[in-house]
Amino acid sequence: MSGVLRIMLLIAAVFSAWWILLKIRKCKVKMEDAIFWVCFAAILLIMGICPEFTYWLTGVFQMQSPANLIFLIIIFLLIEKVFTLSIITSQLEDKVTVLSAEVALRSHADEQVSKEEEQQIQNMDAKSTETAVSENDQPHKS
């Protein structure tokens, strides 16, 4: 395992951990969503710091070189992330659909109610003017 690869792993680990923790500090990401990236950084860190561990794992998976294994692990983790993100996105899309339908439905119901109220007020106004007119029409009994 070359020194350059190890250094790159360390840099990537430190950078991704720093980045996500900064986002937490700035209230840009929820803490539960950051756990994945912290674990991701930890795995990169372990592989960078202990090449023996990486070699051992390479043997276990019967691969040619540790570099292959590292790529495989990273690709696997990222595919998992894309998969869960895609599920979350589609759930969110569905939520937005339901949300807009509900908002439309409720504002429609509100409008309906206010229309009815207006109608009632108009009816009452019409009635009161009618009675006022009919009272004026009556001859004085003096």
Partner: protein, 235 residues
């Protein structure tokens, strides 16, 4: 004591079987408190029941989870200028008779959160579910130096400062990790002994083994790592 306006928020997700019993009890026996039911996008008749009975309720169109429901309730409290908020569950396991003593304790000690605790004076039982509670309790003790016995209690009283924070900050969930963070910010949290009843009907949202493990993982990360990078908004 007495002038403070207290709002009871009752997050309810699919609590059609329990909600009537809970709210009727509040209306009948505790009319001195205002209440609001937060219907968290229930798929059962919770909404219909609230509407039919004329309850005061916020109807969230989609399910956003407990944390989101509490956020809605806190914003409601802030909007209408309440001084204290009590969170109780929609399943009837929290008895509102303790609210008065919780508020009294808050007045006396000037604390920011009072937890209705099952284990303040009584011993915590063993068992797997309490194991989680013990671990979280221990983690809070290690990181803050303070002991909270019933970290997962859903019956809590919040003061005005907490209402603002829980309503408007992305990281304030009604979970134990927030308690740890608040303790480290210098806020004051008290516990008071309460009895909780078993659920009267329906099933608890607690929790498949996988969900429990996930929950514990979140709490541990949050308590041991994330709380140290959050900005400290001191008391």
């Amino acid at each position: 004591m007495g002038e403070e306006r207290i709002l009871i928020i009752i997050p309810a997700y699919n609590e059609a079987e329990n909600i009537e019993h809970v709210v009727d009890d509040l209306i009948k026996n505790y009319s001195q408190y205002d209440y609001v039911v937060i219907n968290d996008g229930s798929s059962d008749d919770t909404r219909k029941i609230c509407a039919r009975r004329g309850y005061n309720f916020l109807d969230l169109p989609v399910n956003v989870g407990l944390s989101g429901a509490i956020k809605a309730g806190m914003r409601y409290a802030n909007y209408y200028g309440y001084d204290y908020v009590v969170q109780i569950d929609g399943d009837g396991q929290h008895d509102p008779k303790y609210i008065a003593s919780m508020a009294e304790l808050m007045e006396e000690t000037g604390c920011d959160i009072v937890i209705g605790s099952r284990f303040k004076n009584e011993k915590k039982p063993g068992g797997l579910r309490m194991l989680g509670s013990r671990i979280i309790s221990g983690a809070i003790h290690v990181t803050t130096g303070r002991k909270i016995q019933d970290v997962t209690s859903g019956m809590r009283l919040f003061d005005k400062r907490m209402i603002k924070r829980f309503g408007y900050d992305i990281h304030y969930s009604p979970e134990p990790d927030t308690l740890a963070y608040l303790l480290n910010c210098g806020f004051h949290i008290e516990e008071i002994q309460v009895q909780m009843c078993e659920r009267t009907a329906g099933t608890s949202i607690y929790k498949s083994p996988l969900a429990s493990a996930r929950y514990m993982l979140q709490m541990m990360f949050s308590i041991f790592l994330f709380q140290w990078v959050r900005k400290k908004n001191e008391a």
